[in-house]
């Protein structure tokens, strides 16, 4: 029975185990009507698991979920939807070849029998869009929308199904800072209208400005609950990590000669221009930050620099030489250290052992193989050496790498590159998804490499990271690179404008 006074959502004593791993250990969460709650925690703290329990993707081992006073059956996403829970996933679940309105009504066949009542749906969508500031053309193809617009469609989809509780998983991960602000304004409007909102985040700034209340998870337990008015960045950071973490600072040092120069790099694929005459100059002893919203050409640029892809036009010069036919191993041999954006899909192979992962990109070098045979002794010793030098925990050389945590995996990927002190490094999203302690470690390693004179191209979506580490920054927007500007005197807002493709001279002034 639905009660008029019950809170929108009560989760009590939720526990969930995966084998020997306890993902959630007796978590309680309450959400009032018209309230915005942020669920804050590091990777693996249990935020997403908790929301998956709410939505019925997982069934909890213990505990109860009540929506508007009514207990939800476990493991039934449809029951959750019917009770008024809507979820916006980090990776959208939209069909790109359908229009907005088709996406919204897809899967709701029972509403109107055989034929879809599209005109009515269109009208309802327009109405919802007007009410909450979520303007999207109902007849636009989803594939043509920007990421921010696609997210609006996801939210509209939930509202269309009369969601009264909206759950958003890391909603700002794919947005520019400006789009993020718009999103939170929308959420605020929805809360005024009586909807309840939970959003998952590990960014302290947006938690403090966007939510009424913040619930902090750590290691599957709730470790704190604060009204955002009565807390601070520092307190939340400490709650989230469990201790004080200081990120290292950069010391000024003069930059040297150019070590990596890209000239007029252009990449066209299937009629689309992914990179358009992108050029930059990276010097020894500096970190050049490359910022941009995901999907603006960072990935093709990195692939060309990594030796994975040949540009349609333009050249890459490394340490004064221009390789005729660059390949990954050729670039590594020439002194390039590489950290790919996706450490699971590209940086490592989960079912290979640590030592196999440690040497794979150099396995043809005499150090690790003879004419046919792998020098397994040398390879294992190298892995063990990396583990001790770079403090990789739980890293027996013969262990499969997928059993490592993301932070330790990243230490191995960084370590196998840094160990022989390459003069040039290209690192893409080196701290994405890592917890605070691991981030501080990665930053320290990159600054060390810079101190000894390496030039580092840091491709990142994390503006704080770029401001803290980089000497200069360039922005990439729609495949074009801006001119590089010194980071001294820049702030996150100006970087945000650069990312949106604003004219650089004007912004920097």
């Amino acid at each position: 029975m639905t009660s008029r006074t019950a809170p929108a959502l009560e989760m009590t004593g939720i526990a969930k185990r995966f084998g020997a791993f306890t993902a959630l250990d007796g978590v309680d969460l309450e959400l009032a009507r018209g309230e915005i709650v942020a669920l804050l925690g590091e990777n693996g703290a249990g935020k997403t698991t908790l929301m998956n329990v709410l939505f019925g993707h997982y069934s909890a081992d213990a505990g109860e979920v009540r929506v508007f006073g009514e207990t939800l059956p476990a493991g039934r996403p449809r029951a959750a939807i019917r009770a008024g829970v809507g979820m916006v996933h980090q990776h959208f679940t939209l069909a790109p070849n359908l229009t907005v309105v088709e996406n919204v009504v897809a899967g709701m066949g029972h509403l109107s029998g055989l034929s879809l009542n599209l005109p009515a749906a269109r009208a309802k969508l327009r109405e919802l869009g007007r009410r909450f500031g979520l303007a999207v053309d109902p007849d636009a193809r989803v594939g043509d929308l920007s990421v921010g617009e696609a997210q609006r469609v996801e939210i509209l989809k939930s509202l269309f199904r009369d969601a009264r509780i909206l759950v958003l998983d890391e909603p700002t991960a794919v947005l520019t800072p400006a789009e993020g602000e718009t999103l939170f304004a929308t959420l605020r409007l929805m809360a005024k209208d009586g909807l309840s909102v939970i959003f998952i985040s590990h960014k302290l700034g947006e938690v403090l400005t966007g939510a009424d209340r913040v619930v902090v998870l750590r290691g599957g337990r709730m470790v704190g609950m604060r009204a955002t008015r009565e807390t601070s960045r520092e307190e939340l950071a400490e709650l989230m990590v469990g201790r004080r973490v200081e990120r290292p600072e950069r010391r000024e040092r003069p930059a040297g000669a150019p070590v990596l120069v890209a000239r007029d790099l252009t990449l066209r694929r299937g009629g689309r221009t992914l990179l358009d005459k992108a050029g930059f100059e990276l010097r020894a002893g500096e970190i050049l930050g490359l910022i941009g919203v995901s999907g603006n050409g960072q990935k093709p640029l990195a692939d060309i620099l990594f030796g994975l892809e040949a540009p349609s036009a333009g050249t890459v010069e490394i340490l004064g030489q221009t390789p005729a036919r660059p390949s990954p191993r050729d670039m590594v041999r020439r002194g390039l250290g590489r950290v790919p954006e996706d450490r699971h899909a590209e940086g490592s192979i989960g079912n290979l052992t640590l030592w196999e992962n440690a040497v794979l990109e150099r396995v043809r070098e005499p150090r690790f193989s003879g004419r046919f045979l792998v020098r397994r002794g040398a390879a294992r010793a190298f892995a063990a050496h990396l583990a001790s030098r770079f403090d990789i925990r739980g890293a027996a050389p013969d262990k499969r790498i997928r059993l490592l945590s993301g932070g330790n995996m990243q230490k191995l990927i960084l370590g196998r590159n840094l160990d022989n002190e390459p003069p040039v490094l290209v690192v893409a999203q080196p701290t994405r998804g890592l917890d605070e302690g691991a981030i501080a470690g990665v930053h320290a390693r990159l600054l060390e490499a810079r101190e000894r004179g390496a030039g580092i191209l840091l491709i990142s979506e994390d503006l704080d990271e770029v401001l803290r580490l980089a000497d200069r920054a360039v922005a990439i927007h729609a495949g074009r690179l801006s001119a590089a500007v010194p980071t001294a005197g820049l702030d996150a807002r100006r970087l945000g404008l650069m990312m949106a493709g604003e004219d650089l001279g004007r912004v920097a002034a």
Partner: protein, 350 residues
Amino acid sequence: MIVERRETRPLVLVVLSPVIAVAVALALAGVLIALAGAPVLDAFRAIAVGAFGSRLAATETLLRACPLILTGLAVAVAFRARLWNIGAEGQLYLGALAVVTLGFSNPLGLPGPLLAVLLLVAGALAGALLLLGPLALRLRFGVDEVVTTLLLNFVVVLLVSMMVEGPLKDPLAFGWPRSVPVLGDAQLPKIVERSRLHLGLVIALGAAILVNLVQSRFVFGLEAKAAGLSPRAAAFAGVPIGATLVKVALLSGGLAGLAGAVEVMGNRGYVSTDLSPGFGYFGIVVAMLANLQPLGAVVAALFAAAMFVGSDAMGRQLGVPSFIADVTVALCLLTMLLALFFSSYRLRRG
């Protein structure tokens, strides 16, 4: 019920899954035997005795295992690199055909053992080249090699049929569609007195050891494994995906071709369209039961061979159709696939 992925695959399950799979398949076969009206336990006893109960039975089982070991290895090598070679049957036949074509006469007057070695190489080469076509189509146009390798099997068998009815037809075979025999000099010697067991067993075991070595110690083995597990990450690490797959295809097709060569040179002496009772297809079962491990393929091949040889004897004694062997071995593939699933996933009540 909810299906959840296990965080890790427990070692116990990895080791036990083929055992459980075989046990379940045998139990299901028992049901079929009972349906055929025979006493189940007696039938299984007859199979065991028929496969291992005498010197002759044991050597017949080993004889049958030779081509199965080689086709099992061929499939294991390919599957490990995610190259879905379903064409071991065709590669086997083409290898056999190459051996007969080059080995029914000896115009250069080569010494027998040298000719034999050359014929083995030719058989392997024929199988290897046959797999390159489907691979090229996959690399160039993205054509699914499951389809192309499978369909090529029928093409090759038709080619064999054409040859043994035509240019290679044995005039002394009373009209039977079979080829002229390989020269006696070039045939593989028997390794056990008063049996049909030939040197092919040693070749097959040697191949298993060699493949094991290549996979565990060679740079190529590591690169092939990486390319199979994650083409993207392997490419990032600089593994040349295309070149690696070409080498894998040569090895895989070569092993299957070698199976055909060995079967002709050691056992039959000639080629005909009934040379293989599905050795190529059962190679898939053998490879899966072995969890794609080369040495495991030897054990799995012995099991399958014992089922075939033992069921023949059981059929003669109890009047149960010996097709029960094909059914049992095929069931093993299904139960093994299920076992693999349950060693990676678990069911929970939801």
